[in-house]
């Protein structure tokens, strides 16, 4: 390898290395990196596409705090995350535990559980809107059958629209996270279960002492991915309720879209997106910190 150290050769080697990365990197810089940096700067400016941008310091953030719609969107986003994250974890972990065994038909179930995730959001939203139909929908027919006199009015009611959206999104996402949990379950050494059995542990005790600790790294990953995903929620809500009824399901991403792309308030919309980014960042870092503390 000695001949590689001559400057000309090293130069050539770097050039070759760069040439591999360049096609993707050029696109990446223009499409992602520059906009990320620009978004940060824009948050401190006043800019509609007609007048030149003007530096206004923290004014956008002041406006944000006093803008009722943005505050409602922030609350709704948090509400959505508080429902979506724990319920998806429970559903996907439950599915993974159920399907992590050798039984006739399990292979089919595993593939089927993944169907909702590859189904387009529009189809999902359209179908669930009909399932949730307050008068004739199958869900309310089922609830009446169970003896509920006044079933919820779901997407037409300000109280029940968000739960309806959450249920739909849990249904859609559980197959995806089930795959991650299944991979985690298969990484737990079988001997640990055998040892626990020899010690006379019941199934529940084995679950508490072997399965849950063994799944910690996966659970951590799933929690982070789900939190980020929840705070970004956009298309499901746009198609299912479009933020309504009223502002009952208006979320942050939608507010960014409305302010920035519909209204052309680039500066203000960027300020909202900076808040969204910081929220996601703080939550992720907190989860990392909690995880590290528990591990010690």
């Amino acid at each position: 390898m000695a001949d590689l150290s001559t400057p000309a050769r090293r130069w050539r080697k770097s050039l070759i290395g760069w040439s591999f990365i360049l096609p993707n990197f050029l696109g990446f810089v223009v499409i992602t990196l520059l906009p990320v940096i620009a978004a940060f700067g824009l948050s401190f400016m006043d800019w509609d596409s007609y007048n030149p941008p003007k530096w206004i310091g923290l004014k956008n953030f002041e406006r944000l705090l006093n803008d009722e719609s943005t505050m409602v969107a922030l609350r709704n986003t948090a509400y959505y995350a508080l429902g979506h994250v724990p319920l998806t974890v429970l559903a996907s972990l439950g599915l993974a535990l159920l399907l992590n065994r050798k039984l006739a038909g399990v292979g089919f179930f595993r593939v089927a559980a993944f169907f909702p995730y590859v189904t387009s959001l529009v189809a999902v939203a359209v179908v669930w809107n009909m399932l949730f139909n307050p008068e004739f929908g199958p869900i309310n027919q089922f609830l009446s059958f169970l003896g509920m006199d006044v079933p919820p009015r779901w997407t037409t009611s300000t109280t029940w629209a968000m739960p309806a959206v959450i249920i739909t999104s849990v249904w859609r996402d559980m197959g995806y996270y089930m795959i991650l949990f299944l991979a985690g379950l298969q990484a737990i050494p079988q001997e640990h279960y055998e040892a626990a059995k020899v010690d006379g542990a019941t199934a529940w005790q084995r679950f508490r002492a072997v399965t849950l600790p063994g799944l910690r790294p996966v659970t951590f990953l799933v929690l982070i991915l789900l939190t980020v995903q929840s705070f970004k929620v956009f298309d499901l809500i746009v198609v299912m309720t479009d933020g309504g009824p009223g502002r009952a399901t208006l979320v942050l991403s939608q507010q960014i879209y409305r302010q920035g792309i519909i209204e052309g308030e680039f500066g203000y919309a960027s300020a909202i997106s900076l808040v969204l980014f910081l929220l996601v960042l703080v939550l992720t870092l907190t989860q990392f910190w909690l995880n590290n503390r528990r591990e010690r």
Binding site: G27, F109, A112, F114, S120, V122, G175, I261, F266, S273
Partner: protein, 273 residues
């Protein structure tokens, strides 16, 4: 689970889970084959009294489905091809070559994967608008073809290919481009398949990108078309379900054919585009 009671509860659980997952699909298919006024009946009819197969014919006259499908196939294929090509090319540089600046660059890629798209969609939109690319396919192709995700996924896979293979090929006088094309690419078929499938399905199902960038009806993808149809003819339940079935069917077939790679891609990366 050796007792009979245990086995019964287990299967009951499995059936309940399968029902929860599949019933919405069954309802969609059943409604797509009904006359419109029989979609919502009390009690529910799971099997249509008479099968209205011509729903699947008349929808093509009601909506420009063929144009929507053509646009979607075009966008998904071009974006997938570019993403796989530039992604695997760059991943070779990141995984198998050493040069100054490499690790800092890679860190830049990883860092932006963590930034939500919503946080920079406004500057992106302004840029596309100034370049006159809004309402063209170019905007979506540029936006989605150079994702960091593909680079990341392929690099993870290339790291598992032993360096000695590349070393041996270098001894044989292959250039780095030759090694990428003739040694690494053939070895990484499973990872290429995973990336291609994930990208294709994600692009096919993407709503937000086309929703923001495409305004002309003749550029719309199937997702936008379906959404607009459902909004315009919101009482045309059976037709809406027919459209949904048609929009889901191609992707479900692709998923079933490649589900092994699909699931592998998700399990190894643990991330989403």
């Amino acid at each position: 689970m050796k007792t009979i009671a245990g086995r019964v509860t287990l299967y009951a659980g499995l059936i309940a889970a399968a029902a929860a997952v599949l019933v919405p699909f069954l309802w969609m298919i059943s409604a797509s084959l009904k006359p419109n006024n029989e979609v919502f009946t009390v009690p529910i009819q799971w099997i249509p009294q008479e099968f209205r197969w011509d729903n699947f014919i008349s929808i093509w006259q009601r909506v420009p489905l063929d144009s929507y499908l053509r646009n979607t196939v075009f966008l998904s294929s071009v974006i997938t091809l570019l993403q796989v090509l530039t992604g695997s090319f760059a991943a070779y540089g990141f995984a198998k070559l050493r040069f100054p600046g490499r690790d800092i660059l890679f860190f830049g890629y990883i860092a932006t994967i963590a930034v939500p798209w919503q946080a920079y969609m406004i500057p992106q939109y302004i840029m596309m608008q100034k370049a006159g690319l809004t309402d063209t396919f170019w905007s979506l192709i540029l936006l989605q073809a150079f994702g960091a995700f593909g680079v990341f996924l392929m690099r993870q896979y290339y790291l598992t290919i032993p360096d000695e293979l590349c070393e041996a090929a270098r001894m044989d006088g292959l250039s780095e481009y030759g090694i990428w094309a003739r040694v690494i690419l053939p070895l990484s078929k499973p990872a290429l398949a995973s990336l291609a499938l994930l990208t294709f399905v994600n692009t096919w199902n993407d709503y937000m990108g086309p929703f923001i960038y495409l305004t002309s009806n003749d550029l719309w993808t199937i997702q936008l078309g379906l959404r607009s149809f459902a909004g315009q003819f919101d009482a045309d339940y059976a037709m809406i379900m027919t459209g949904s079935v048609l929009s889901v069917l191609p992707i479900l077939v692709i998923f079933l054919l490649g589900q092994r790679y699909f699931i592998q891609g998700i399990a190894t990366s643990g991330m989403k585009g």
